[in-house]
Each structure stands twice: as C-alpha cells, then as structure tokens.
Amino acid sequence: MIDEKFDVIVVGAGPAGNAAAYTMAKEGLKVLQLERGEYPGSKNVQGAILYADALEKIIPDFREDAPLERHVIEQRMWMLDDNSYVGMHYRSEDFNEEKPNRYTIIRAQFDKWFSRKVRDAGAVVLCETTVTELLRDTRGKVIGVRTDRAGGTIMADMVVLAEGVNGLVGQRAGLRKELKPDAVALAVKEMHFLPRETIEARFNLKGNEGVVIEIMGTVTNGMTGTAFIYTNQESLSVGIGCMVSDFVKSDTSPYALLEAFKNHPSIKPLLAGSEIKEYAGHLIPEGGYKEIPELYGDGWLVVGDAGHFVNAVHREGSNLAMTTGRIAAETIVWLKRRRDPFIADNLAEYARRLEQTFVMKDMKKYKDIPNFLHAKADTVFGLYPRLISKAAQTWFRVDGVDKRTKEKEILQSFRKGRTLTGLIGDAFKLARAWR
C-alpha cells in the first residue's frame, strides 16, 4: 500500500498520539499516523476536561482556533447519600483570566482540530486503518506495522504506540500484560443538550464560564467509582464509572447505575428537559504507578492511556497523555539529530525525561491509593457519605435539641458506624497512601 519508509509511525490519534505526531512533524521528521476511526476522535471518549498547560507546551496559541466549550471557573466536589449531597465548592473570578487554566471540551471535535494541526505540521494521517501487528527484524527490533488494508505493511525506524487503553497491538506483541479488571474503570456517559441560557441559569454562569462537578458516594452502589457533570456550551456531559472488577462482582449494570444517578434528587433538576444525543462507554486505566508497563524497547515506545498514565485521584489523564506524547517525541527527535539508533538503551532517555516531569512524580505520589480504595470501597463510597450527610443534617436541622447534644449525637454516629479504631485506622492508612 505504502512503499515509502517513515521515520516514525504513530499508532492512534488521541491526545497522546497527536501530541507525539505534531511534535515530531514540526521538527521535520517524516511521520505517519494511523487511526482506526472514520476520523480522529470518532473512537475516542473522555469527560472531557482539557488542561491548558499540557497543550500550551505543544501549541502555545491553541486558544485561537481550538474548539473549546467553557473555561472552568468553579469546581464542585459532592458526596452523595441516597437523598442528599454534602459539597465543597471553589469558585473564583481569578479563573476568568486571559489564558484560562482548564476548559470543558467535546472530544470528537477537539481531536479533529488537533489532527488538523498534525497534518498542517507535515505528518501523513491515515484514518480507517487498524494496525493489526508490529513487524520486527530478526533481532526483534520493531521495524514497522501491518494494517488491515490490502498489502498493508508499512516500514519505519520507530513506532510510537498511542493506541489507548485497549492497546491490542502492544499487548498482542507481548510488550505489556493484559489489563487486570481491578486496574481499570468502566465509565459510561451521556451528552445532554440544553439551551445555553438554561445551562447558564442553572449553574450560575455567564458567557463561556463553566462548572465541573465531581461526585462520589452511594450512587456507585458500594463500588469504587465516581460520577461527574461537566458544563459545555449547549450540553452537559453526564457520566459515572466504577472499577471493572466491582461491576463483575455486583449485579449492577453500568446503564442502570447511570440512570439511578440521573434520578438522584440532587442531580435530576440539573438535567431536567435535556435531550440526550449520545451514549458512550470507555475504559480508564486507574491502576496507578504499579500498573505502568515497560515503556520502551527496540524500535518502540508507549504513551498515554496505553502506558497507564492516569492520575485517578485528580481525574487527570489527557494532560498526562499529551505530556508523555510530547516527551516521547522530543526524545525521538533528539536521538535522530544525534544519529543514535532507536534501540532500548537509547530510548531509556524517554523514561529518564518523564521522571523529571509532574507525570511520574504524581504517578508515584499516589501509587498506594488504588489499593487503599479497593480495600475500603464500602467504607469510602458508602458508609462515610452516609455518616457525613447524617451529621450535616443533625447539625443544620433546628428542632429544639441543644447543640451540645447534637455534637454528641454526631460523634456517636461515627463511633457506632465505624468504631474509633476504624476511624483512626482509615485516617492513618489514607494519610500514608496520600503522602
């Protein structure tokens, strides 16, 4: 199909692949990017929040023409029990700045834009092409890919695997192990359309201001997971996700969970009257640092979700994807200029550079959190939200009971619900995992 040989083939056109392809093409490398979707973005799913910093380091003036929905001026964190939520909100006029920090985006549109930039930078982007396997020479070095197109072998000096969470190419080539059900979350999401005035009135916004609501509590039915509502210009992204292993053990379906979430008394009014235009499902690699696979080898390296680069605690992923894509690309460009071959020893520079960035520092910081949440799912996502909600209600309800008695009642409910040793143990374990 394609006789020319490329410097680099990038597999996948999500944030990681686009960051890598763009960076290398801009530096003059001969880049081919392969994407199995009809257009870049057609297979991609995210909440979605765009973190400006990561993109700015790749395309400094992206705000000029990127399809951005709203810039985030308010963050809400809600803890739900069956009838209530306890919330912490942070809203600041400081987020109405010249170069806002976070935006809501719609991935199919954003990825199309990013891909156009990749093409403009000089890369060849080929869609509707699924990579089926890696080609290797006799010594095992990766020298190209096979695709599902007729006669579809393409040669390159280097392959960047940006194939996402379901990284079949790398897995089937034995570059990394199959994901474990307790290291991935399954999230489902709907797009709810509403007039922009309705969104602005409901969420206390004006112009392009946006709100992000991150939610945990009894809505995940005792499973480790979270839910979210993000405001776009004329739609709301509404979703919920839990660990795959938890879904398997439960008898809950993801769509029933989403439906129950949407009908929660604190959520329902926010969505009232909306028209749903899409339902998506996607996996999120949430195993943390311990699940990061081998990142490079002779003739290949891996970036983004395929490399398990997600900070589940802070709900960050696309910025880690773009950053790993960019660092990988910069490493490849650097090696190419030095005329160093793309062998494992030289590509180790990619991992060394990553260590210096927030990506690896944050992944390491939270390395023990997945295990903590796993051991404590019922407590963290069920018991505590209930106890905290009950405490708030006791505190705020005026009913002739004196305040000292109310304080006692609250303390007792916690000691009864979790025991003093349990409370201290949880705090201690969380502190240790967080450190």
């Binding site: 199995r36 979707g37 009809e38 973005g41 057609s42 297979k43 991609n44 799913v45 995210q46 979605a48 069956d82 719609i106 991935r107 199919a108 549109q109 990825d111 869609c127 509707e128 092409t129 699924t130 695709t147 599902d148 197109r149 379901n166 079949l168 199959e178 994901l179 474990k180 059900p181 991935v184 399954l186 489902v188 709907e190 797009m191 009894t218 809505v219 039915n221 739609s235 795959v244 879904f247 398997v248 053990k249 439960s250 008898d251 809950t252 379906s253 993801p254 769509y255 029933a256 969970l257 439906e259 129950a260 749903i276 235009k277 899409e278 339902y279 998506a280 499902g281 996607h282 996996l283």
Partner: protein, 99 residues
Amino acid sequence: MTMDMTTVKVEEKLYTNRYLVDAGRPHIKVRPHETPSAGLLALTHTCPAGCYALNDKGQVEVTPDGCVECGTCRIVCEPSGDIEWNYPRGGFGVLFKFG
C-alpha cells in the same frame, strides 16, 4: 441505593448513537459452550451496551452491533478464552459524534 434494573432500556440509549456495522464480520465472538463461566455470565450485566444475553439453553450469546468498543468484556473474558475480541475493521463500528 435501590435500583430497578428492569426498567432501564439500554436500547434506547444506543439508539442515539451512530454505527457503521460490518455486516457478517462480528468483531467479538463467544466460544461455544454448554454452561457459561462466571466471567461470561457477568457480561450479561457488565457490558455497558447490553450486547451479551442468555439464550433459552442458558448459554451466553453476543450481538455486537451496539458495541461501544470499550473493551470491558475483553478484559474480563479474553484471558480465559471465553471470547475473542478484535477491533472492527478500520472505519467500522461505533462512530462517536461527541465522544
């Protein structure tokens, strides 16, 4: 939280999506079996697109037309060989308008 699963119809959700079905080339196959494994049975409620269902012989069948290509079933059931999972051919399958 109580959840009445029977009232939720996933078909209505999938109806909003765009698909290009590769007729006659399903990208997921279930290995023929007499009685399904625990993992395979779990897919009947875990699949977010409701692609897995029991037939009247108590075997699990897959109809991947509404598949959203998340890969959950692959992670749960491919290691045991219960299912075979491949990406649809380039261009086929779900086409997210928003993602």
